[in-house]
Symmetry: none
Subunit: 417 residues, 2 copies
């Protein structure tokens, strides 16, 4: 089935507002197995709305239009749709009564302008809005279903979850597909893709998409058969091993937090070049105060010495960006906070400050879980912001790896490179 979404509003075309409405509709539709084929944003003018709808009608059996249903003069979606489909615009009595009641509740009379929100194209099916005035509407037109929804995100969500999704599920129940997620870290798309494509040869009905970001590489698998999809995901997870950090919608900070909580461990941070970003990511997770104690942002060398006890000899001999300094930062932050685990980072975020021996992007990342220590030298590329982000997410992944190593595994312990 072909499905298209049309978002109406000048604010979308100036970039003032990001079109989260269409993403929300697409997610809800994906959950009931309806795939969106195209999303279009157009301005408030009747002509542009009609042009987009006319094009979609040629291709689609299901069309959503969001926005342009408010009371003011720039809200012209009703007019555009009714005009194109040759329908009358009529006042819906139930909706009008409801709007009047809402104004009464606020203690004011309904302004004349608000009546417009009760106007609907003739013969539309009405879905009551649980949190606002403008109802959802569904129109049948030559084998296509057109659904009009308000653009206010909260109202849109309430309408979708209240009645629209259920209505569509019933109506299109025969045509669904499933999806599954694998989140990975340290993998490069171009290196891993050929191996995954080979796996997929055994699952001809499954398709894969690659979604790289600074927080890792996500793989999304889709297919019509839930069993086949499940077996495919199991195969790929075996292939990728420890690089897979979750199959759920969680980031690395949340996964690390769960490992710490499950093992009853606390953690502290000692950050130089990331400047507090690791702490920010860890504390982005609700309930992180259960395992995160805090730490030190040791930006100046004096702070590394005075707060963390990094020795001046080490700083002089090896420099602030060295495995030796990071090792002492780990020891220092565990000493002063009493945490079971720690992350320490020192590096050169740039754009200045690099040398031939220690270029911009060079970062030492240290992680410690009880007595086990792992310090790794990394070289990141990109802007100052990207280097900070790459270092921070890598540090969380390194801590995760150390938290899942079985205690008997000595190989990784106290390794310095």
């Amino acid at each position: 089935m072909h499905c298209e979404l049309i978002a109406v509003g000048n604010e979308l075309l100036t970039g003032r507002i990001v079109d989260t409405d269409s993403a929300l509709i697409a997610r809800r539709l994906a959950q009931i197995g309806i795939r969106v084929n195209r999303v279009v944003s157009v301005g408030d003018e009747v002509e542009f709305i009609q042009q987009a709808l006319a094009e979609s009608l040629v291709r689609s059996r299901l069309i959503f239009i969001t926005g342009g249903l408010g009371p003011t003069s720039d809200d012209r979606t009703r007019e555009a749709v009714a005009g194109l489909l040759n329908r009358q615009l009529v006042k819906d009595k139930d909706t009008l009564n409801k709007i009047q009641r809402l104004f009464q509740k606020r203690g004011t009379l309904m302004p004349k302008l608000a009546e417009k929100q009760a106007v609907i194209p003739a013969n539309a099916l009405i879905f009551e809005n649980p949190v606002g005035m403008v109802p959802g509407m569904a129109l049948e037109h030559q084998g296509s279903l057109i659904i009009l929804l308000p653009g206010v995100p909260q109202e849109l969500e309430a309408l979708l979850d209240g009645a629209i999704v259920g209505f569509l599920k019933k109506r299109f129940s025969t045509e669904v597909f499933h999806q599954a997620l694998i989140r990975t870290f340290s993998l490069v798309e171009s290196q891993i893709a050929p191996k995954i494509e080979r796996c997929l040869k055994d699952f001809s009905d499954v398709r894969v998409g690659y979604y790289p970001s600074v927080a890792g590489l996500d793989l999304i698998f889709t297919g019509p058969d839930q069993n086949s999809l499940k077996r495919c995901v199991q195969t790929v997870v075996r292939l990728l091993g420890r690089n897979v950090y979750t199959l759920e919608e969680k980031n690395l900070a949340e996964v690390v937090g769960e490992l710490l909580r499950r093992q009853g461990l606390t953690v502290a941070t000692a950050e130089s070049c990331t400047g507090g970003l690791v702490g920010d990511l860890i504390t982005g997770i609700p309930g992180s105060s259960d395992y995160y104690l805090g730490g030190v942002i040791a930006y100046a060398n004096e702070v590394k010495q005075n707060l963390l006890g990094v020795s001046s000899v080490t700083l002089k001999k090896y420099g602030a960006v060295s495995s030796q300094t990071v090792g002492e930062m780990l020891r220092g932050v565990i000493n002063i906070t009493g945490a079971d685990c720690a992350v320490a980072i020192s590096g050169i975020a740039g754009p200045g400050g690099g040398t031939r021996m220690k270029p911009v992007g060079l970062v030492y990342i240290g992680t410690q879980v009880r007595k086990r220590i792992f310090i790794q030298k990394q070289l990141f590329s990109g802007t100052r912001e990207l280097i900070k982000e790459r270092a921070a997410w890598s540090a969380l992944n390194q801590l995760r790896q150390l938290l899942i190593v079985p205690p008997g595994m000595k190989k990784i312990e106290t390794k310095r490179q």
Copy 2:
């Protein structure tokens, strides 16, 4: 001029990713006076990309296509565009060399698959990507200009700001408006807009756009006459007073950094609920090591006591979220780092942990510049992430205000509320 944006990627059609790329392009284009008429998202298939591009070519003189330029089999934008325009696909030598160098830097050989990222449609103009592998490309086709850009937001932004916006400004210079920026903090759009619209009555050729974000409210003024625009901006700046923090493309962290550097002052941070975010924002600015010493992330009360010297009596009597605790955090972090200035924050980011007396969103922000101290109670709304961000940006603004107060102005000193 008619301009359209095409975003390519199945992830946009499943709602997994919100199309922030198109909003970013639209904002940058608006700044050089180019209005976007339509935004379209389509899936990864060659057929759908070609269909969208063919439609846009009929209407538009300027078309952006983002995404689908990666190395894997689902990246098919090149192929689609070259096919539709009847162009060869060729390997660009400079880009290939650059990609090889990037892999060398990572210490690995370039995989065969990565070569695809150096493939371009013949006769395309190349824009080097400052932070990634895939370059931007511009193609002339029957009077229309088609620009292909990678979908990774950081790469897109770097390419736009690095060369593309300048290139377009020059090319479409006769149709371009002048623009001016005013960046403000603590202002609410709906309250300030009527006052600004009144100002604008004297400048009938100037238009204003409002761009609110968690980092402040930006006002962008556009008009055909540079002098009129300049006078208009001066009038509005007088109206908004100290809420204006810059007229340039700088954020509050950069403005605060400049004030510190100019006054020869250093700063340290003591963060509880923001968990390192203030440090992260400050160290986002190149050269921040000139004035930022570091600080403490005092998430657990034990860290507040042991590292910052907050007294157990204060914590017991007033709680961790109180002006008293924040006052002692300021004193503590200045004591241990020797900084001239400090920021201290304690609050409840939620979603749990709130009470009737101390609800989620309650945050105390303390700032100190030498002997002058200002502690403010704030109540922020939104998600955990938003509360953290609002608190961090507010803290920077509060420090800015204290840095620009003339030394003789006693009123604001040592105020606690």
